[in-house]
Symmetry: C2
Subunit: 310 residues, 2 copies
């Protein structure tokens, strides 16, 4: 039996091997993804993101256990835009999540550097694998607060941004970048002093936001005690229902498809330009010397690539 | 007198206007950068990065004041890959750094979303403006711990990664992504318990790294009291001297030029593909429906673009 058939049957070891192939990228991954195409089940994807230290992992575990108790098949993907230097091992250890694994969830951390089209593209490919393997819910956890996290948020249906009270100014500033991608805000460690203030602060920030079809609720909760988790799942379900209405899920899929195409396209073009070694080297020298702008160099290289190919 | 002449004279208001133009991007920015080309002075660029809460801003201020005392002309650029939602206002307020400004440093925070080629390209353009304006040192502070920060690190000469003892596991994992881009490690708040352990932990991580021409030193310091700052500046100077030897600075400039060209090129290609609306829409529909892979879609769109252009 081929790997793709084992994946379709939902065999965890095969799913793990398939995700490794996606991590590495290249022809093997492309072939596998082509085989899996059209076999995706109905999967709900949930992103959990937020600044470091807000308790995302605990929340993922608590949420995962709740979903398992409701009879769902659950996969957890921890996305680590990690360095080749550490190989993502730190995160790998961190997210073993023994409770979830023991109760049948599929848990996996993914280091994605070097994947064709970047971390978001690799995550989207991984979600295709997990959808084909028949998981009903995939929870994607991201580490960090940069553009990668915003990109990864773009490949899931519902994004939960986690915050806590009492973070420093700098974390607050970093958090601001996550505001626009949130469908639900979770204020974790709600038993701590200041949690009400955090809820109020988020609500007043949201009040300044432009009118939109979906207004993100702000939910105090405790991932540790489980308080407020049921309400979080309700809010997630409400957002999923919102997506199912008025063709929104289709529009979301198309927006996502366009981004995936764009990333792969950029990568392809750059590989071609690199193949014209001498021409690239000359342009690079001129830009480095300050005699040519990066914009003009890019225009020339593109024109040359097109001429050559035609 | 044109804006570019005022920039060459180092007039702070003109420099500010030029940086706003770079932030906005487009034809005006390109024209200005073309005028400034070839006028860059000898500038040393220093990146300060690290997880939220480690005291980067305090360190930037302390470093900036030291450089001013040594008679240097200093500019500080705080790079904020911020959302249109908040307009970067949070960070803008945070980095006013009145001490530095009062003593003649140029301090500016930059929100760069939407710039052609992304945040790193906009930062590189901003460094061109500051170099033409005659600043001898530019300190670039980044917020966040994602790919943007790694990209921004690629546009400066020397990268200082700041850490502190006692961060949570998650911040540690996020930090791992910064290990490979560091030229110097600063363990801030060195008077705190655990600082020695943090230094030792970093040193043992570095011991596992492959042999390289430059070994990043790990320096305990206190940005608040100024202890260890002189040693940090020595380490930075040593790294700059390392770059000046054996043609390394030239190689660095070329690597940087190549990345700038690549980012602009990707952007140009995508703009062209978007211009072929119907074809793109059909490909997007097929990828969204799962009947076409993003890879195949990208290949077809690229081929079509080339055919059309030739």
């Amino acid at each position: 039996m081929g790997l793709f058939e084992e994946v379709l049957q939902g065999q965890p070891r095969a799913v793990g091997r398939a995700l490794s192939a996606v991590e590495r990228g290249g022809a093997e991954a492309e072939l596998l993804l082509a085989e899996l195409r059209g076999h995706a089940g109905a999967v709900r994807t949930l992103g959990i993101t937020g600044a470091p230290g807000v308790g995302k992992s605990t929340l993922v575990q608590t949420l995962g256990l709740q979903l398992l108790e409701r009879g769902e098949r659950v996969a957890v993907l921890a996305v680590d835009p990690s360095s080749p230097f550490t190989g993502g091992a730190l995160l790998g250890d961190r997210v073993r999540m023994p409770d979830l694994s023991a109760r049948g969830a599929f848990v996996r951390s993914m280091a994605t550097r070097g994947a064709l089209g970047g971390v978001a593209a690799a995550t989207a490919d991984a979600l295709d694998v997990l959808a084909a393997a028949g998981y009903g819910w995939v929870v994607v956890e991201t580490v960090g607060v940069g553009q990668d996290e915003v990109d990864v948020a773009g490949v899931v249906d519902t994004v939960v941004v986690v915050t806590v009270a009492g973070l420093g100014d700098e974390v607050q500033a970093a958090k601001a970048g996550l505001l626009e991608i949130a469908h639900v805000f979770a204020v974790n460690k709600a038993d701590r002093p200041g949690a009400d203030g955090e809820v109020a602060a988020l609500e007043s920030m949201l009040a300044m936001a432009p009118e939109a079809e979906w207004s993100p609720p702000v939910l105090p909760l405790s991932a540790m005690t489980g308080e407020g988790i049921a309400e979080l799942l309700e809010a997630v379900a409400a957002h999923q229902a919102h997506l199912d209405a008025d063709g929104r899920r289709g529009a979301l899929r198309r927006a996502r498809a366009e981004r995936r195409i764009a990333r792969v396209l950029e990568d392809l073009v750059w590989r071609r330009v690199r193949a014209g070694e001498t021409r690239l080297a000359l342009a690079v020298d001129d830009v480095a010397a300050g005699t040519l702008s990066p914009h003009d160099a890019a225009r020339r290289l593109l024109a040359a690539m097109i001429l050559e190919d035609a």
